[in-house]
Structure formats: C-alpha cells, structure tokens
C-alpha cells in the first residue's frame, strides 16, 4: 500500500512519534482480529484504548512489542521498524537480536502480573537491567531500588512475590518494566485481575507516571482513569478504530452509535 507512509507522517509533524502503527492487520488462522488499524502516539501522550472483549485491544498492544506477529501492516517504535526490515525493496522478518533490543525500549505490564516466583521482588526488578542492559549488579540494584521506591514498595524488596497482594505484585511489575527506562509503557488491562479495593493503588501509580511525562498506551476498562488521565482515547470495535479523540469529546459527545451503546453498558 503506502511504502512511504512514514514520509507522510514525517512531513506532517517534525517530531517523530514514539509509536506509529500503519494499517495493522492480525489474523489468528481464519479469524481476523485486527482489520486495518492506524494511529500514532507522540512523546508524553497517554493513549487509552477501550472497547468490548474480543475487539482486539490486547492483540493490538501485543503487536507493538512483537509478542504477536502482525499479518500485515507496519509498526514503528521511535522511527525504527518493529519485527521487520526492508532490504532491497523486500520486506523480511527481523532478527531475534534486533527484536529483543527494541523490546528494551518498550515496557509492558500484563493483566496477570507475571512476576517470576523464584526471585525476590528486588531480584525481579534487577534482572533485566543487569542481564539485558548489562549493568553491574550494584548499578542494577540502585536502579531497582529507585523504581521500587517510586511505586512505594521499597520495604518489600526482599519478599517473594507469593507473599504480596495482587495490587502490590502489579506495582512491582510496573517497577520492573520502568527499570529498563523504556520510551513507552504498555498497560494490558493492568487492573482487570485485581480485587476492586486494590485497583486504586495501581491506578495511582499509573497516574503519577503519566504526570511525570511517560508515553503510555493503556488498554483498560477503567473509564474513570481513561477520562481523567488520557490525552486521547481510541474506541476499538471489531478490529477497527470506530472513534478516536480527546476523552472529553468521546465520553461526553460520542459520535458513533456503537460507542454510545458501549458506554451505556459500562457506565450505568
């Protein structure tokens, strides 16, 4: 389609977006989950993605750090193609080494936390800075302590994840992702697995992160958070962007019928 979509974007804005998605398609076998999604995220933006289950929100996020391989379309992280290279006019799959390197700049927080149970909290946060970025153990520990303190869990650093509550585990997961100092943070329904009284502490951390200027993409069902913290909201329906815009517009004056139905179901 448009080989020079990037050039189009570059002409429009002099500052390169942190995330660029161009006509993204993803099928699982015969089922097409993403049917042509395009958008970009500028530095410091907080972009929320809302939509019904099965609309493709998680899949979209997981394509960004190549946990899912797109069927077609292009993804650029800080201007660099994700998961593919163009050489001699042909597109081929990128090397594992390159993909791993680019993933260092993308932080992801999962719905199931996915903390490693055989390491302490501190160990979890230190692991990637030490083994992937190549920091010394002392440096990695410093970074880990800094971010554990930021999420308010420094006192739990020598505990094993099994001893922590869901909210605490998720905050550790956020610290673990932050410790790599990524350019963008992806949140895949970060509070959906938590008991209601524990979601607050995680949302507070996310809010503080946004206030600090972190570029974030948040897939969420927490409409309050989406409305208050996002710069832009995308409503995904059946694998396509049905509507997008500033939260005030989307939530108060939804234009599409489907979005109206969705909001009435969620917000009654």
């Amino acid at each position: 389609m448009r080989e020079s979509a990037r050039e189009t974007y570059a002409n429009l804005s002099p500052v390169k977006p942190v995330v660029e998605v161009v006509d993204l398609h993803k099928s699982f076998g015969a089922l097409e989950v993403l049917k042509g999604v395009s958008f970009d995220v500028q530095e410091g933006d907080v972009l929320s993605v809302i939509g019904a289950s099965g609309s493709g929100k998680s899949t979209l996020l997981r394509c960004l750090n190549h946990l899912e391989q797109p069927t077609s379309g292009e993804i650029y992280i800080a201007g660099e193609p994700m998961g593919f290279r163009i050489s001699k006019g042909r597109r081929r799959a990128d090397s594992q080494a390159n993909i791993s390197r680019m993933r260092m700049e993308i932080g992801m927080v999962f719905q199931q936390f996915n903390l490693w149970p055989h390491m302490t909290v501190l160990g979890n946060v230190m692991e990637a800075p030490e083994r992937v970025r190549g920091l010394s153990a002392a440096e990695a520990r410093e970074v880990a302590i800094f971010f554990l303190d930021k999420v308010g869990l420094l006192d739990k650093r020598d505990e094993y994840p099994a001893r922590l509550s869901g909210g605490q585990q998720q905050r550790v997961a956020i610290a673990r992702a932050l410790a790599m100092r990524p350019k963008v943070m992806l949140f895949d329904e970060a509070t959906s697995s938590l008991d209601p009284e524990l979601t607050g502490e995680v949302l507070d951390v996310m809010r503080a992160l946004a206030d600090d200027g972190m570029t974030m993409m948040v897939v969420t069902h927490e409409m309050g958070f989406a409305r208050e913290v996002s710069d832009r909201v995308i409503f995904l329906h059946n694998g396509l962007i049905e509507e997008e815009g500033p939260p005030a517009e989307l939530f108060e004056r939804p234009r599409s019928e489907r979005l109206r139905q969705f909001l009435s179901k969620i917000l009654h």
Binding site: S100, N114, W116, P117, E127
Partner: protein
C-alpha cells in the same frame, strides 16, 4: 552387641565399604542422568531433525528394566563401542540410561508447565529466548519438579543393588560374598536389608524436607 553375630562385627567394615561404592555409583549415575536427561529434553523439544532419535532414546530408557539394560550395557556395548571398559562404569552407565529417559520427560513436563506469561514478561523486557530459558524457566522447573527429580535419585539407589550382578563391589555384592563365605544368611542379609532401608529412608526424609522448604518459599 548380643544380637549381631561375630561375623557381622568383624566384617562390618567390608559392608560399609560396599555401601560407599553403592553411594558412589548412584551419585555418578544421577549426575550423568540429569545432564543427559536435560540434553535429551532439549534435543527432543527444539532440535527438529533429531526429534525422533531423541524420543527413541528416551522411550528406550523408560521402557526397559534396569537389569536388562545392565546386561546389555555390560556385555554388548564393549563389543559394539569398545566401551565401557570396567564393570563400575557399566554400572553407572546403565543406571544413567535408565533415569535419563524418565528425567527427560520430567524436564519436558516442567518446561511445558511454566505459564506462557513468564516467558512473555521476560521477552517484553528484551531477554532473549536462551536467557529466558536459563534464568527464568529452568529455575522454575527445578523448583516445581524437584520432588520428581530427587525421587529419581532414590530410584537410582534402589536400582543400584543390581550392579552386584556384574560384580561391582557394592553393598549387595559384599553381603552376598560374605554369605557365601560364612553361611550366616539370616544375620548378614537382614543387616544388609536394614542398611539399605535406613539409607533410603534417611535420604527420602532429607529430600522431603528440602522440597517442602522450596515449595513453601516460592508459592
């Protein structure tokens, strides 16, 4: 000691020497089995062209009795491969062949049992598949599968009694030899049985306490 005969008290050192050989052959066999089992597991899971040979090796180890393997390794291998050259080596080799099949499957079950999210979290932080396997997955497998793995050591110790048949001077060999010399089977064999039971029981308890501690810490 009134219940133990002269024969036993005079020859107890020989029995203990036999016990030392038993433990020696068992430990060597187990260490080799773990390495071999891990290798077979990886080859089976990740080296496509060698998948069926690996499966064959694993299934052979699991589906043939230790005594049969012992005979085969001791009498056939030297003519086929020129090795093993001593009965002691044949002993631990056969025991290792036995256990490596079982351990390969144990490792595989463990690796497949690690939730996808654990891998994905590592990948999302930029860890390579090899690094993830080493630091994240295998460590968890070691914890979750530790009862099975350590239990296999007990199996090796119990199976090691058969190496006496190919004249490896283990505890059983010493006991049978003493019996044929001194003709006091009741005392000698009962003491031997008791020694074996005691060793296995003590090891089994140690293993249980260790694996319980692991489980407690991480879950």
């Amino acid at each position: 000691m009134g219940i133990l005969s002269r024969t036993i008290t005079n020859n107890f050192d020989k029995l203990l020497a036999g016990l030392a050989v038993t433990l020696e052959v068992s430990v060597i066999a187990f260490v080799v089995a773990v390495s071999l089992g891990l290798t077979l597991c990886f080859v089976r899971m990740y080296v496509k062209p060698l998948r069926w040979p690996a499966i064959l090796a694993i299934e052979f180890g699991r589906n043939t009795p230790i005594y049969v393997q012992l005979m085969w390794v001791n009498y056939v291998w030297p003519d086929l491969f020129g090795w093993p050259t001593s009965v002691f080596t044949a002993g631990w080799t056969a025991l290792a062949v036995q256990s490596s099949g079982y351990l390969a499957e144990t490792f595989r079950a463990g690796i497949e049992g690690v939730r996808r999210g654990q891998w994905e979290a590592a990948y999302s932080l930029g860890m390579s598949p090899a690094l993830t396997m080493r630091r994240i997955v295998l460590r968890q497998v070691a914890v979750t599968m530790s009862p099975s793995i350590m239990n296999q050591f007990l199996v090796v110790v119990k199976s090691s009694t058969l190496v006496s048949v190919i004249a490896v001077p283990d505890l059983m060999y010493q006991a049978l030899r003493l019996t044929s010399i001194w003709f006091e089977p009741i005392e000698i064999l009962s003491v031997t049985a008791f020694l074996y039971i005691a060793v296995v029981f003590v090891l089994s308890n140690m293993i249980k306490r260790y694996t319980d501690r692991l489980r407690l810490r991480y879950t």
